[in-house]
């Protein structure tokens, strides 16, 4: 082992991407392509009285116009609360109301402007704490009728789309015995994923009824299944092809509305592909955002820092449609206390409809939001008790044998090591001199954990096809959005098969040919699809060995493959018993021209075992594996301007097994910088439902000038069930960035910023308050 795994092999998609040859969806051309534009609601909450499309339809060049009435089927990933276009009501500013397909984008845009809609404005709900009240008007009047996954619990006749409840131990009794009780509140706003490629799709409805879709979609299979519901179609009549994705981060997972809109339009002009690409403005407020959170903590601790009880309330601002967010908020609920062992926990996580943009999955899947509070709350408790941030964490950290908040028994946990490595590297205890009398230095750490947050039975599959010359096709539906899927899975395939990495070609997902994969989300691909690839490779090896055993007269159990050569392990030097895999690629050939078998096609499937839905108290094992880590931050705060300069960050994560060090480090750095962005710069500024900063002019993401110096450490505590021991790492490095920075800011100036982002104005205000209190 270790020939390809653990090596920084170059990306499979490197050449096409550095030469500009890679074709993303918006780069695709068809001679008869139509262009779509969407008419969106200017109101946050309103009844649609009338839609008049006649003037748009009359415009030359317009080929199709649709409104909500055309396609009434309801769907959604975990709760069916969405239609292709708004039906009777619009529920956020940007809710699609009508759409046009035309010969040119210009005509489509003109046509959209000609559609007249009469609305009756309704009062909007913009704060989830108010929207969840019993007497609040309903944003979804039909909530009681909505279909939903069995692990989602909408509250009837309310705006609560999911109430997740967790009860572990006896919180009341434990609070009574605690030496101290601390209470705290934290908030995060809605933020955007901001992939540089905006959402884009092309759909063609063929005359025979078959649908063909090219989409910048993370999850071709999930998309196909949801489309099947909307269009009442057998799944084999829907073909989704995923070309390179220009960044996803969760925002292109599940069902994103652009694809069904394009399909609806194409259904009226069959055989003509319809392209819909979001403008940057649309991307900011009409593509999925990360939900906001109001987090309340009450924590009981012993004198020595042992946390004995915690009561948590998470109220999520999940926006107008919650088909994905219900599971984000559930994950936030069953991970509610962070990577710590607390014997008594009571938590309620409420996913609440508001008249804000639609929220859903975003790198971290709820974990960024909950750790923002958890990791700061811990620091403030530590300070009160006279403990260091490291001490309180080590004291309560999950370890082998610990019980999580859902009472899952932990194993192979190296969270404490992550904390120690980070604390040592940033010299947490050492005070640094600042460069100026008006600037203060500080350091902080924050930890995190995350599981893939999938339904327990989310599965993956892979096929390995050996071609006549011994070269190999790895056929999967996991998508490549930059994270290096194709490369790391090819490494796993090469390693398991015993061939060179260059012998492996990775297919582009196409649901007509590539086998099922639940979704490419939740940092699950190396783990879940990786396991399927291992099995497919093992299956292919068995087939090869079956042929070779007969051909070479060697026991199959004695055969192995290295560099694409099958050999007898009992006589590795015997040239007569060394044959290239190509010899058996298409089956066994006999001397008389006959043969046996046929092409070697390895099949691998994987579904995690031993996990189920949680019980009614939120107890049980529902997570297939956890990834743990810790960030350290060193900051300098300008006490006159309030500006925070993040000088250095250290990230330490336990990856189980590092499949490709360079790619893994890229995930850590990229995640960390995205987390930095949310810490310092990013927030959707929403007023009465309207996003005021829906452009790069006022929604700032980090540039190269902003980034801190980054140091990454990767630990390898093998995960028993992971392929070669690997754990997921795509999301986790984003999670502890913001709280680590906030803790460092506190260390510098002695005030705590509890609401993201940490803006200069908040810092100055906090400093002023501190001063006035003396």
């Amino acid at each position: 082992m270790g020939k390809v795994i653990g090596k920084s092999v170059n990306r499979k998609d490197g050449v096409e991407k550095v030469t500009g040859a890679a074709r993303y969806v918006d780069d695709m051309k068809f001679p008869n392509l139509l262009h779509a534009k969407v008419l969106r609601s200017p109101y946050a909450h309103a009844r649609i009285l009338e839609v008049d499309t006649s003037r748009a339809e009359a415009l030359p060049g317009v080929k199709a116009v649709i409104t909500g009435r055309c396609f009434p089927n309801i769907t959604g990933l975990y709760i069916g609360d969405r239609t292709v276009l708004a039906q009777e009501k619009v529920r956020y500013v940007g809710d699609p109301v009508a759409a046009v397909a035309a010969e040119t984008p210009e005509v489509a845009e003109q046509a959209v402007e000609l559609i007249e809609v009469e609305y009756e404005e309704l009062p909007g709900l913009f704060n989830p704490c108010e929207a969840m009240q019993e007497d609040a008007p309903l944003i979804h009047e039909n909530i009681n009728q909505y279909n939903h996954a069995d692990f989602i619990d909408p509250v009837p006749d309310s705006n609560i789309s999911n109430h997740f409840k967790l009860r572990k131990g006896d919180v009341e009794a434990a609070f009574a015995e605690a030496d101290y009780i601390f209470e705290d509140e934290y908030q995060t706003p809605m933020v955007q994923h901001v992939p540089i490629e905006t959402h884009s799709t092309i759909a063609r409805y063929n005359l025979d009824g078959k649908l063909k879709i090219w989409a910048s979609a993370q999850s071709p299979d999930a998309l196909r299944e949801l489309l099947g519901v909307i269009f009442n179609k057998p799944l084999n009549q829907i073909q989704v092809e995923t070309v390179p994705i220009g960044g996803g981060f969760g925002g292109k997972a599940g069902l994103t509305p652009e694809t069904p809109i394009a399909i609806c339009l194409s259904s009226l002009v069959r055989e003509r592909p319809v392209k819909l690409t979001y403008s940057r403005q649309e991307e900011f407020h009409c593509a999925t955002v990360r939900p906001g959170i109001y987090a309340n903590y009450k924590t009981g601790v012993k004198e020595d820092g042992d946390i004995v009880a915690q009561e948590i309330e998470y109220i999520w601002d999940a926006g107008a449609y919650n088909d994905y967010a219900v599971n984000v908020t559930k994950t936030g609920g069953y991970s509610c206390s962070g990577p710590y062992e607390i014997p008594n926990v009571k938590a309620d996580s409420y996913c609440v409809y508001t008249n804000h943009p639609v929220s859903g999955a975003y790198r971290g899947f709820g974990m960024c939001e909950v750790h923002w509070g958890i990791e700061q709350h811990l620091d403030s408790i530590a300070e009160e008790l006279g403990l260091s941030p490291l001490e309180i964490r080590l004291k309560n950290a999950l370890q082998d044998g610990s019980l999580t908040v859902t009472s899952e028994v932990m194993q192979d946990v190296a969270y404490s090591e992550c904390l120690e490595v980070t604390a040592e590297q940033i010299e947490l205890e050492k005070e640094e001199e600042s460069t100026s009398p008006t600037k203060l230095r500080g350091k902080g750490i924050a930890g995190a954990y995350k599981g893939p947050s999938t339904p327990p039975n989310a599965s993956s599959s892979a096929l390995i096809q050996i071609l006549a010359d011994g070269s190999i096709n790895l056929i999967i539906t996991a998508t490549e959005m930059g994270q290096g899927t194709y490369t790391s899975l090819a490494q796993i395939a090469a390693e398991t098969l015993g061939v060179a990495i260059d012998d492996i070609n990775v297919s582009t997902p196409n649901t007509d040919y590539t086998p099922h994969d639940w979704q490419t989300v939740g940092s699950r691909t190396v783990f879940s699809t990786g396991n399927a690839v291992v099995r497919a490779a093992e299956d292919a090896r068995e087939q090869l060995f079956d042929y070779a055993a007969e051909d070479l007269g060697v026991e199959a159990a004695d055969l192995d493959i290295e560099e694409g050569i099958i050999f007898d392990t009992t006589e590795p030097a015997n040239e007569d018993k060394r044959v290239p895999i190509s010899k058996y690629a298409l089956g066994l050939q006999y001397a008389d021209g006959s043969g046996r078998g046929g092409q070697v096609i390895g099949r691998g499937i994987y579904m995690p075992e031993g996990i189920t839905n949680l019980d009614e108290y939120g107890q049980g094992k529902t997570v297939n594996h956890w990834t743990f880590g810790c960030h350290g931050a060193e900051v300098e705060v300008d006490t006159e301007t309030g500006q925070v300069e993040v000088l250095k960050m250290t990230t330490t994560f336990d990856l189980g097994k590092v499949i490709n060090p360079q790619l893994a480090e890229g995930q850590l750095e990229g995640g960390l910088v995205q987390g930095y962005g949310t810490a310092i710069l990013e927030e959707l500024i929403i007023e009465e439902g309207e996003v005021l900063n829906n452009s790069f002019v006022d929604y700032k993401i980090p540039t190269a000038m902003d980034i801190p110096e980054i140091k990454s450490n990767m630990l390898e505590t093998a995960l028993e069930e992971g392929p070669y021991g690997a754990r997921g790492i795509g999301e986790p490095a984003m999670i502890p960035a913001a709280p680590a920075i906030a803790n460092a800011v506190y260390d510098a100036i002695g005030v705590r910023i509890k609401e993201l982002p940490i803006t200069p104005e908040k810092i100055l205000q906090a400093l002023a308050e501190k001063e006035s209190k003396g």
Binding site: L692, D698, P702, A704, M705, D706, L764
Partner: protein, 288 residues
């Protein structure tokens, strides 16, 4: 989506002026296009005619006029050319420094000084420095040319003294008589490619009576403004902490900041004071 239009690129100023006169409100001057095309993309502007001035002779030339001791900057000189110009760096370092803070490198290859001026945003980064440097604008129309101080040229957000039919052809900067030290501090949310929340331009020119200060402030009033009272305090007393304090205080009283997405009024007020003090201190440090 940009509305369609007819495009002209004359090589004579008089042709530009005739077109402008003929189409009045329905025509726009195109220099680097970094403000204009964004406004057209967003549908805020939809002129039927565009006149590109980059075909005019010397419109993008940087020339030091020895005889008159002035620097002549063609209106369509790119901000990168200004930032990289040795002569600008030598005698008007403040301007080079400010030009460098605009947008990104590739943007500054297109963005021009004349465009920055004529767009007349209160937050435009070269304007506070130009005001502090007492730069003049040359405007040319069918009736001939006229010259005006940048400070007088700017009227309000997006408003200036150009009349129908006129363009700016040149900016003129008088050569400082003695050594000058200057500093432009751009306070913004992000370190690069961001608009100024507050911009502070300070220069000190060495003369017979020691250094004389000029101070201009951006993004805190409808136009960039000179802080005369602050200058007076700095120039009429022996410099010490207390005097700087007083000057900064006076600058704070001269401005009318607003609240917008970038910052609150109150924050802008505070930042003008903080950054002005820092700019003054840096200028003093640099001559010591």
């Amino acid at each position: 989506m940009i509305n369609n239009f007819e495009y002209f690129k004359p090589s004579q100023v008089k042709d530009v002026a005739s077109l402008l006169k003929a189409y009045a409100d329905n025509i726009k001057v195109l220099a680097g296009g970094t403000d204009l095309l964004v406004a057209m993309q967003e549908g805020d502007l939809a002129p039927d005619y565009i006149v590109d001035i980059k075909g005019l002779t010397d419109i993008d030339r940087i020339k030091y006029d020895k005889e008159n001791q002035i620097l002549r900057l063609g209106a369509a000189t790119s901000l990168n050319d200004i930032a990289a110009s040795k002569v600008v760096q030598k005698h008007w370092p403040l301007l080079a420094e400010a030009a460098q803070t605009v947008g990104s490198y590739q943007l500054r290859n297109r963005a021009t000084i004349g465009g920055n001026l004529c767009n007349s945003s209160p937050a435009a980064d070269t304007l506070a420095p130009l005001v502090a440097l007492e730069a003049e604008v040359e405007m040319v129309g069918l009736e001939g040319s006229r010259i005006m101080k940048v400070k007088d040229f700017l009227v309000g957000p997006g408003q200036n003294r150009l009349s129908t039919g006129e363009i700016v052809t040149e900016l003129r900067l008088p050569k400082p008589s003695g050594a000058v030290k200057g500093r432009y501090i751009k306070h913004s949310r992000r370190k690069a490619v961001d608009l100024a929340t507050v911009g502070v331009a300070v220069i000190a020119e060495e003369g017979d009576l020691g250094y004389r200060f000029k101070v201009a402030l951006g993004a805190v009033a409808p136009t960039p403004i000179r802080a005369y009272q602050a200058e007076k305090i700095l120039n009429e007393s022996e410099l010490n902490e207390d005097i700087i304090d007083k000057a900064v205080q006076a600058a704070g009283e001269a401005i009318f900041p607003i609240t917008d997405l970038r910052a609150s009024k109150d924050y802008r007020l505070k930042m003008v004071k903080v950054q002005l003090r820092r700019a003054i201190e840096k200028v003093i440090d640099s001559w010591e």
